[in-house]
C-alpha cells in the first residue's frame, strides 16, 4: 500500500504540474490572441472592436476568407478571383498611395460596396457597427497593421469639366502611358500583354474591359476612377500613375474612360454617374 500510496502521490504531483503548465500555456495563448483582438477601427463616429468583429467574421466571412484570414476558406478553390488574403495586408481599393496600408474607411467601403464581378457581395444588410467591427477584426490578421500606419490619403482635386479636347488628350495619354498594352487599343481588355497578366499571388487576371459598361471594382464615379489611377490597385498589375502624370492629365484619362464606358451598347453607366456608395 505504501508503494501504491507513494506512486499515486507522485502521479498526483505530476498531474498537478501538467495542469498548471497547460493552464499557463492556455493563458499565454489567450493573452496573445486577445492582444490582437484589442485591435480597433474608426470610421466616422463609430469605433469597431475586433472581438465583436470576430463573431461576425465567423458567421459571414470565414467560408471564403478562411479561419486564419489568409483567403483559403472552404469556398476559395471554386472562386475566381480568389478571396483576399488579409495576412498580406495588400488591398486593391484604397485611398492611400501604392504600397501603403488602407485606411479603416477604405476597408469599410469595400465591405459595404462589395466587389463587383467577384464573389464578394455587398454587406449593406449588416449594421454599420457590425461592418466597423469587421474592419477591426480584419486588421488583426496582419502584424503590419500594428507595426505601421497607413500613409496620408491621396488628394483628389476638383474635377475640371469634360470636353472633346480633354477626351482627346486622354486618348493620347492612354497611348503614351501604355495603358493599351493591357487594356487594348480600343479599351476592350485585349491588349498584347493581357494574356500574360497575373496577380501577385500568381493567378491569371484579366484587365478591365472599359467598353463593357459594367461596374468598376472599387467604385464607379469619376472620382473613384481618378483615385484608382492615382493609388493603383495593389496586388494586381494595375499601377499607380502618380509619378507619371499631373492631376489634370489623370482627369483627361478619366474623361476618356468615361467616354469609352458610356459609348458601350446597353451601358447603364451614365457619364459621371452617381456614386453607388
Amino acid at each position: 500500500m505504501k508503494a501504491n500510496g507513494g506512486a499515486s502521490a507522485g502521479r498526483r504531483f505530476f498531474i498537478r504540474c501538467a495542469v498548471r503548465a497547460s493552464n499557463a500555456t492556455i493563458l499565454v495563448l489567450l493573452v496573445s490572441a486577445t492582444s490582437s483582438l484589442a485591435q480597433e477601427s474608426h470610421v466616422g463616429k463609430l469605433t469597431g472592436n475586433a472581438k465583436r468583429g470576430r463573431a461576425s467574421y465567423e458567421r459571414y466571412c470565414i467560408f471564403c476568407h478562411g479561419p486564419y484570414g489568409d483567403g483559403r476558406g472552404e469556398n476559395a478553390p471554386y472562386l475566381d478571383p480568389k478571396p483576399r488574403d488579409f495576412t498580406a495586408a495588400t488591398f486593391k481599393c484604397r485611398s492611400t498611395p501604392s504600397g501603403s496600408l488602407p485606411l479603416d474607411s477604405d476597408l469599410y467601403d469595400t465591405i459595404t460596396r462589395g466587389i463587383h464581378a467577384s464573389g464578394m457581395p455587398s454587406w449593406k444588410p449588416l449594421t454599420r457597427q457590425e461592418r466597423v467591427d469587421l474592419v477591426a477584426y480584419i486588421k488583426s490578421f496582419s502584424p503590419k497593421f500594428r507595426e505601421e500606419q497607413p500613409a496620408a490619403p491621396i488628394e483628389i482635386p476638383p474635377e475640371p469639366p469634360t470636353s472633346k479636347e480633354s477626351v482627346q488628350r486622354g486618348a493620347e495619354l492612354f497611348q503614351s502611358m501604355n495603358c493599351w498594352a493591357c487594356h487594348g487599343k480600343e479599351g476592350r481588355g485585349n491588349g498584347p500583354s493581357a494574356a500574360t497578366l497575373t496577380d501577385s499571388k500568381g493567378y491569371p487576371i484579366t484587365p478591365f474591359d472599359l467598353t463593357s459598361g459594367t461596374r468598376l471594382k472599387c467604385g464607379d464615379s469619376d472620382r473613384g476612377i481618378f483615385r484608382d489611377l492615382t493609388t493603383g490597385l495593389d496586388g494586381t498589375p494595375m499601377p499607380s500613375f502618380t509619378d507619371a502624370m499631373k492631376p489634370d492629365q489623370i482627369w483627361d484619362i478619366v474623361h476618356y474612360i468615361a467616354a469609352l464606358r458610356s459609348a458601350a451598347k446597353g451601358s447603364t453607366v451614365a457619364r459621371g454617374g452617381p456614386n453607388p456608395n
Binding site: A88, S98, N178, A181, T196, G232, S240, F241, D243, A244
Partner: protein, 235 residues
C-alpha cells in the same frame, strides 16, 4: 611577460576587428567563383515586336537571361552573401543610392542587392513607359508607372532574398532585388566572380542564391589579413 605579448596582440586584434572603421589589416575577405557544370539551358528569343520602342533598341534579338553562363563556365547573377555568423550590429554606414535601370526594355542589372532602407533609384532610359512592380513577401508591395526620363526613388525596409520585379506592360521583363540587413553581399559578374570584403574575422555560413538553380551554402572560417577562397558549383 614577453611570452604573453603575442596573446595581447591577437586579443587586441580581435577586439578591434568588430569596431566600425577598423583597418583593412584587421578584416578578412572571402572571394571566389560560382561555376555552372553541365550543359547550360538554351535561352529563348524574346519577341518585343508589339512595342516598337523596345524592338528597335535591339539590333539583334534579345534572349532570356535566367541562366547566364560565361565562357569559362562562370555563372552570372548569383547573389553571394553572409547568411550566418555575424554577431552584433552591422557596421554603420550611409551607402550611396543603388541604381536600377530599364534599358532596351530589360532590367539592368537583372539581379541586384542592397541594404535595408538603402535608397534605390529607378531610371527609365527607354522611349516607352514602364511599369515597375516588385512583388515582395516580406516588404510592402507597390506598383508604379514610370514614363521615360521620370526618376523614381524607393527603398525596402526588411531583409528579403530576393524580391522578384516585373513590368506588367512588357511581360518578358524580369529582375530580382535582394535586400540585406548587413553589407556583406555581392552579385557575381559575367565570369562568376564575387568578393566579400571587410568581414570581421570569424566563422560564417556563406550562401549563394540563383533565381532558377536554387541556393547552396558553405561554412568558412576567415582570419584577419588572410583572404579565403570559396567555390560554388551549380548544375
Amino acid at each position: 611577460m614577453k611570452k604573453y605579448l603575442p596573446v595581447f596582440i591577437v586579443v587586441a586584434g580581435f577586439l578591434s576587428a568588430g569596431m566600425p572603421g577598423s583597418s583593412a589589416q584587421n578584416t578578412a575577405s572571402v572571394s571566389g567563383t560560382v561555376k555552372f557544370k553541365g550543359i547550360a539551358p538554351h535561352p529563348s528569343r524574346i519577341d518585343m515586336s508589339f512595342d516598337p520602342n523596345c524592338a528597335k533598341a535591339h539590333a539583334t534579338p534579345a534572349f532570356t537571361q535566367d541562366v547566364v553562363v560565361g565562357g569559362g563556365g562562370g555563372l552570372e547573377n548569383v547573389v553571394v552573401y553572409v547568411a550566418d555568423g555575424l554577431n552584433g550590429a552591422p557596421p554603420e554606414g550611409d551607402p550611396p543610392p543603388a541604381v536600377l535601370e530599364q534599358k532596351g526594355c530589360v532590367y539592368q542589372p537583372r539581379v541586384m542587392a542592397l541594404q535595408a532602407n538603402q535608397k534605390l533609384e529607378i531610371k527609365n532610359d527607354d522611349a516607352t513607359s514602364h511599369n515597375i512592380h516588385p512583388m515582395p513577401v516580406n516588404n510592402r508591395e507597390w506598383n508604379k508607372t514610370q514614363p521615360p526620363g521620370v526618376p523614381i526613388e524607393e527603398s525596402f525596409a526588411r531583409e528579403e532574398i530576393a524580391i522578384p520585379v516585373k513590368c506588367n506592360i512588357h511581360p518578358w521583363m524580369r529582375g530580382y532585388i535582394a535586400v540585406f540587413k548587413h553589407p556583406f553581399f555581392a552579385v557575381t559578374d559575367k565570369d562568376g566572380n564575387f568578393d566579400l570584403k571587410n568581414l570581421p574575422p570569424g566563422t560564417y555560413t556563406i550562401t549563394a542564391w540563383h533565381e532558377k538553380l536554387g541556393t547552396q551554402s558553405q561554412k568558412v572560417t576567415v582570419a584577419a589579413g588572410q583572404p579565403s577562397k570559396l567555390e560554388f558549383t551549380f548544375k
